[in-house]
């Protein structure tokens, strides 16, 4: 299993993912530059956080038109596992691979801190090993993470079990206080209808070692690896 880590101009979390793959999980990985046109040879794709193309116009709006995105869309439509974290989540929404959009935090302030999120569904390659209802401690670092979708889309997400993570208290209660950005229904992460594309605002790559304060994020990568092995 080889992970491809995408880099756009302005991406900043790629080295954190690379470190987790190289030094923590010791799995095969490689960078993919946004001007490349192929993702061949990769079995899973990561769209890391940052400010791709300066986040000009809207977060993810320009990145969506980077040459590599044709290959990413095809990879996703063919069922390959794709994870977008933070800015990566914003890009996946702009690219139409995930429904909805991420808006300016309700507080209007950048939020960089630990949050807890409750696992709402284990039916994705990224959460298979996590356990339904399990609360993960993962950091966030964003100014535009308020998930929004119109009522019909939100209803579809609920009906299809596409809401994967919700901000919660450490013991799993979904409260306004636990919501760091005003996201609808405390949504921290969703998947597509095909369940192979996951977008989340928190940063699992920054919570994959005890030294950093939490190892919970590693579960997402280990889930993908175990899914790949079972194939």
């Amino acid at each position: 299993m080889k992970f491809g880590v995408l880099i756009f101009p302005g991406t900043w979390s790629h080295q954190d993912f690379a470190h987790v793959f190289q030094d923590v999980l010791k799995v095969d990985w490689g960078y993919i530059w946004h001007k490349d046109t192929s993702v061949a040879g990769h079995d899973g794709l990561i769209l890391p956080g940052g400010f791709a193309h300066g986040d000009y116009l809207r977060c993810g709006a320009i990145a969506r038109f980077s040459p590599i995105m044709h290959a990413v869309v095809k990879f996703a439509r063919d069922g390959g596992p794709v994870m977008g974290s933070c800015n990566g989540f914003q890009i996946l929404c702009e690219a139409g691979l995930l429904p909805g959009a991420l808006l300016r935090n309700e507080s209007l302030q950048y939020r960089c801190r630990w949050v807890h999120m409750r696992t709402e569904s284990t039916e994705t390659p990224f959460t298979r090993m996590v356990g339904k209802g399990r609360v993960l401690k993962i950091p966030i670092s964003h100014g535009e993470g308020r998930y929004f979708a119109d009522p019909e889309t939100l209803g579809r997400l609920r009906a299809n079990d596409q809401i994967i993570f919700r901000y919660s208290t450490p013991d799993g209660a979904i409260t306004d206080e636990a919501n760091p950005n005003g996201a609808l229904e405390n949504i921290a992460g969703i998947c597509n209808e095909g369940r192979n594309v996951l977008g989340l605002m928190p940063h699992p790559e920054r919570a994959s070692e005890a030294l950093l304060g939490s190892e919970d994020g590693r579960l997402l990568f280990e889930s993908v690896l175990s899914t790949a092995l079972r194939r």
Partner: protein
């Protein structure tokens, strides 16, 4: 030469905390008559196209494909003649 002036704003159904903050600031200054405030973007494009009808359809496509996100934003635009 044709110039397009485009306004992009958050849909009414989308909470605009920035607009609310500006409204509060105006109230603090004594401007209490502001009932609602929405903050948006204003884009000005100079177009090579000289035909008004074609220019309108091009700008509309630009708005739909890139300049506005239909999930969260509405757009309006005007096109008028400006000196070369």
């Amino acid at each position: 030469m044709l110039e397009a002036q485009i306004h992009v704003t958050l849909k009414q159904s989308v909470l605009d905390p920035q607009g609310d903050t500006v409204k509060s600031a105006l109230a603090t200054l004594g401007f209490r008559g502001v009932e609602d405030c929405r903050v948006g973007k204003f884009l000005v494009l100079r177009l090579a196209e000289r035909d008004l009808v074609k220019a309108k359809s091009q700008v509309d496509e630009m708005c739909r494909k890139l300049l506005a996100n239909p999930v969260i934003e509405d757009y309006v635009f005007q096109i008028h003649e400006v000196p070369e």
